[in-house]
């Protein structure tokens, strides 16, 4: 037996040197090296630059041999609490609102269209193409089309005879749901506490009593902190109000027009993947049409919803070109952090601050992507 095990053990070792493996290594190496330098290396460099003062002094900004000093987290503390950077904070709030509306609208519309198409209407292939078609355009093209359509005194307003003052799709100066930025610690604490309570109720359902109590205790502690110490934390020297700018409605419409076809395709694939036996079994058990959706189909579509949310979420957090095409630069009503990053770095020459904005965006996108990737890896390990 011992002797017989030698060749079986040696075989994989020899295989690691065979030409196939060598080729795959050779073929992969260039892109691995390029990725290492131009993606991860530059991320590290941006991360380092965001901790410096490059560009604060105009004399050093574009010098051939700039003197760059390490200043720690000062760029970040300015972004979140400095007098001059309320613009960034508004952009951050805007992008979160935009993301929420964009994802909800895309999922809703996509699911609705998919459910309609799932009923096999006449000319289904044609409809599918029509709904999916906007995705083939680039955001720049979409933005240009919609800028023209949503013009105050033209486009849809002229077509339907709407009053341009009341239907200011992209030009509204109004903002709703405003809150004081200084209340951010409190709001964050309450949101996290609510999530913890959700965890606690789940733990109760699964009978994990310690987990439940720990979660409840953490939530209580957070809320306690928020209403005592947290309440006295002042982020900015003066009260500062940010809200959802109504001018984003136009941008959301354009973005949803572009991407809802994509969620429709995802959901349609999911719906087609559900075997008819399941629906028939549910019908035999006495479920009505709505009950089938509620208890059979929607739960099965949950993983699709999750992946669609991830894809849409990271697109909306880093969105640049659509907004650039629709409302151009320096339009505070519809600005997003990616545009501000471009303006800060390439118009204002404040490279370190631009890098800091970039890092904040990276962290936001990572917060969406990383848990998803982790769960994917775990799943593929299991299988």
């Amino acid at each position: 037996m011992a002797r017989a095990s030698i060749p079986t053990k040696a075989a994989p070792r020899r295989r690691s040197f065979n030409s196939d493996r060598l080729w795959s290594l050779v073929v992969l190496l260039p892109s691995a090296v390029l990725l290492a330098i131009f993606v991860y290396g530059f991320i590290l460099r941006s991360g380092y630059l965001s901790l410096t003062d490059w560009g604060n002094d105009p004399a050093q900004a574009l010098s051939l041999t700039p003197v760059i000093k390490f200043t720690g987290l000062s760029n970040y503390s300015n972004l979140f609490g400095g007098l001059l950077d309320s613009r960034f904070r508004q952009d951050l709030v805007s992008t979160l609102f935009f993301t929420a509306f964009f994802i909800v609208a895309c999922l809703g519309l996509g699911l609705g269209l998919a459910m309609l198409l799932d009923r096999n209407p006449k000319g289904e292939g044609l409809w599918r193409t029509i709904f999916l078609f906007p995705m083939s355009l680039s955001f720049i093209v979409t933005g240009t089309i919609w800028r023209w359509m949503l013009q105050p005194a033209g486009g849809v307003n002229a077509l339907f005879g709407l009053d341009p003052d009341r239907h200011a799709w992209l030009t509204s100066n109004a903002s709703i749901w405003r809150f004081d930025w200084n209340k951010l610690p409190l709001i964050t604490a309450v949101v996290v506490a609510l999530v913890l309570l959700g965890v606690a109720s789940r733990a109760r359902q699964s009978g994990n009593r310690t987990q439940m109590w720990v979660a409840i205790a953490c939530a209580a502690l957070l809320v306690l902190w928020a209403f005592t110490l947290g309440n006295s934390v002042k982020m900015t020297p003066v009260p500062e109000y940010h809200g959802f700018n109504l001018a984003f409605i136009g941008i959301i419409i354009a973005a949803v027009w572009q991407m809802s076809g994509y969620t429709m395709a995802l959901y349609l694939a999911g719906l087609r993947g559900i075997p008819d036996e399941l629906r028939e079994a549910a019908r035999v058990d006495g479920a009505n049409e709505w009950g089938i959706y509620r208890h059979v189909i929607f739960p099965l579509l949950a993983p699709i919803t999750l992946s669609a949310m991830i894809i849409l979420g990271h697109i909306s957090l880093k969105i640049f070109d659509l907004v650039y095409a629709m409302t151009s630069l320096n339009n505070l009503n519809t600005e997003v952090p990616a545009l501000l990053m471009y303006i800060t770095a390439f118009q204002g020459n404040q490279f370190a601050k631009g890098a800091a904005i970039g890092m904040v965006l990276l962290i936001l996108v990572a917060a969406v992507i990383v848990p998803y990737l982790a769960s994917q890896f775990r799943r593929s390990d299991r299988s």
């Binding site: 560009g55 003052d165 151009s328 630069l329 339009n331 303006i343 118009q347």
Partner: protein
């Protein structure tokens, strides 16, 4: 054909060694402005036929894209031989302080330009004892446009001061003109209007003091600029943030608004695109309170240190500053010559009137077009104006502007 290719190849190889040189010029002039640049390029080729001129144009957005490309090239150690930049602090605060430009004082002296440009102009192009760029053209920023026939119909005259402007605005509103003044979005039309209001409020000296640090942005006089600007904004169209400057001009031409404050490129737009006749189809006056002052901006070219073809670049600059060069370029571009001896017969009615003012008025530099403040300030200032338009808080805007000025080193 083959022979020609061989010769071309040989020329390319020996290009640097032989007299046949190379020159790369970098600009954002394309589209409407392309023909003016082409005319200059043609003139250069006539004078220096052996030089291979590479016209590196990066189109779009009033130079936004070109400036970003230029920065990456300069940081990468590959400067073009000569590049377009707004004259004044946009160049000085960005490239001169970084020690990346060559001093052109000797060129000014050898070409006799010191007496050919207006006296007020040279200090605005200089710092640290050097003159840093050659202005090709001059545009005026503080112009108010209107349609004479419409004003007659409404029974008003172009206001001369800001108070008069506000009074006229009230009159027009009473007559049913919802937005007597039209303005475009905050990318530049709104800050552009701000600088005319500021000049009209503070006067020429006050405006200069603001950027030399003698007058603080938080001074009550400077806060008044914001108050005035807010009052003027109350007279403007509600959809401003969705309009380009051309669309804001259209409102005046169509009679939806009475006045629009914009640079004098609007004259080109109205004459060429809208086919209105200067003087009768459309009229102009200095922005309220700014009569006697020419708020200018200028496209200029400089010489970066380390330019590969320095001699050819100097010849290019010589051509740009010459009378022939300026009179070739400007009538096509719709601007006027920076020199005071240009041949006015080549220009249209509006340009002739602007050129007369250029020679006689006091000269002040535009803020949003880069003459009096560096890029850090102008880019941040756009945000402050946009914020003010939202919240109308004059004190907050004044404080933010002062903080920005300190950060950008204004008045140091």
């Amino acid at each position: 054909m083959k022979k020609a290719l061989l010769i071309a190849a040989a020329l390319a190889v020996t290009g640097t060694a032989a007299a046949a040189g190379k020159l790369e010029i970098f600009s954002w002039w394309s589209g409407d402005e392309g023909p003016a640049l082409d005319a200059l390029v043609k003139l250069y080729k006539q004078k220096y036929p052996s030089v291979n001129l590479v016209n590196a144009t990066v189109a779009g957005g009033a130079g936004t894209n070109a400036k970003a490309v230029l920065k990456t090239r300069m940081l990468g150690g590959d400067p073009p031989d000569s590049f377009q930049v707004h004259a004044g602090q946009e160049l000085i605060g960005t490239w001169v302080v970084a020690n990346r430009m060559e001093d052109l004082t000797s060129l000014y002296k050898s070409e006799g330009w010191m007496s050919k440009f207006p006296k007020d102009l040279i200090p605005l192009l200089s710092s640290k004892g050097g003159i840093w760029s050659v202005p090709v053209n001059v545009h005026r920023s503080n112009v108010m446009w209107y349609v004479p026939a419409n004003l007659k119909k409404w029974g008003v005259t172009p206001p001369k001061t800001i108070d008069e402007l506000l009074k006229t605005c009230a009159t027009l509103k009473a007559k049913g003109v919802a937005a007597p003044i039209s303005v475009g979005d905050s990318s530049f039309p709104q800050p552009h209007m701000w600088e005319s209001i500021a000049l009209g409020t503070l006067g020429t000296q006050g405006w200069a003091d603001l950027f030399s640090g003698k007058l603080k942005f938080t001074d009550p006089r400077a806060v008044k600029v914001w108050t005035n600007f807010g009052k003027v904004m109350d007279c403007t169209n509600k959809d401003s943030s969705g309009l380009t400057w051309q669309q804001a001009t259209d409102r005046v031409a169509k009679g939806q608004s009475a006045f629009n404050i914009m640079g004098d490129w609007a004259a080109g737009y109205m004459a060429t695109t809208l086919k209105l006749k200067p003087g009768t189809g459309f009229g102009w006056a200095p922005a309220p309170g700014t009569a006697g002052t020419f708020l200018f901006l200028s496209d200029s070219f400089g010489l970066p240190k380390g330019a590969k073809d320095r001699t050819e670049a100097l010849n290019w600059l010589r051509l740009l500053g010459s009378k022939q060069g300026q009179d070739t370029f400007n009538p096509l571009k719709g601007s006027i010559a920076a020199r005071t001896d240009s041949d006015l017969s080549k220009y249209n009615a509006y340009s002739q009137s602007a050129a007369k003012d250029w020679r006689s008025n006091k000269i002040a530099g535009s803020l949003i077009h880069g003459v009096v403040a560096n890029e850090t300030f102008t880019s941040g200032f756009g945000g402050i104006v946009a914020q003010f338009v939202q919240n109308r808080d004059a004190n907050a805007a004044a404080q933010a502007t002062q903080a920005l000025a300190t950060q950008a080193g204004i008045g140091k």
